[in-house]
Symmetry: C2
Subunit: 216 residues, 2 copies
Amino acid sequence: MKLFSFWRSLATYRVRIALNLKGVTPDEVIDVNLMQGKQRDESFRKINPMMAIPALVEDDGTVLFESLAILEYLDETHSNPPLLPKDPKARARVRGLSQIIACDTHPLIVPRVREFLAHEYKIDEAGVMKWGNHWHTSALKALETHLQSPQTGRYCQGDQITMADICLAGQAVGAAYFKADLAPFPTVKRIVDGLNTIEAFARAHPLKQPGAPASV
Amino acid sequence: MKLFSFWRSLATYRVRIALNLKGVTPDEVIDVNLMQGKQRDESFRKINPMMAIPALVEDDGTVLFESLAILEYLDETHSNPPLLPKDPKARARVRGLSQIIACDTHPLIVPRVREFLAHEYKIDEAGVMKWGNHWHTSALKALETHLQSPQTGRYCQGDQITMADICLAGQAVGAAYFKADLAPFPTVKRIVDGLNTIEAFARAHPLKQPGAPASV
């Protein structure tokens, strides 16, 4: 198994956490430097025509793409520990929370979107920061309301880690980058603080990857 | 079961198709007029704090949110016909294709994003149209490359309808709205043309819903 990764990619951070939780170690981790636009190289385009990471390549050559699809795949092929609860309604809540992050927030702040805002509409760095802050904060408001449910436990859904927690850890890193304060969202903050003490999360953190700076 | 819907919502279009395919008829379909900002009303915010549709409310009051989470839920609770193949790698491909649309494209063109571009950055209508066209076309390029795989059949994955087809039907409606031509993407076009002849898709089409105009 090969993982195409970059230290800063929050979608790849999700997959790294899941691999750590499942005890799966890729044979190779291949760097795709998003800051140098390497995701647009012809060689990587053949791996993932969407020109985005993560991509996970199985030993038979099957390429898996899109982080939530990869999490579901890892959960179906390595069942322990599960990343989804058993009950369909609880599964739907976990997937819904995950998608508030992985559909409604993160795709708005990936490099291709920030570059398009800057190049096409001449939006300056402060304007792009406001953009990232706005979408993170909007989603954090919705997430905090959801997480005030009695279904929330130590983690997003009860006391077992699910893919919603994996996504939430990334949302917190994105929020910090765009200076979106977590203080008004105490349930989010409590869960994230707990996740960050878990080795599978800590070891997958963007700043712990090869090539990462000491801080963002 | 109650569905919160609006004729124009492409995420709700996905859920309408799935309900039709599964033969499930909601007891009530409640209109949330996105063009009047009704998704931000306090009453709807209590249903879905993300202020977005679709939302599907089960008879016990459970609120299901985020379209892909709802599709997975419907598939888990109403197994016939399945919206995912059985093989984990094929399931990952279907989910990955779905997410190129439902994560990487559609969240960029929803009302809240277009309004933010217009109000915050003073981007005019032509600029917003260019935005929508650009993200639809980028994703269509990636989808067409993926769909040239021998795994593609009459539909995105073999000859059975999956959630990737449900998402693709919506992508085609969005592309038409933003004047993104499907002609350079013949496999996408062939599949969409086939889907549009199916009653479950045709009946769910945005322009067939209450309140819809004769054309967009």
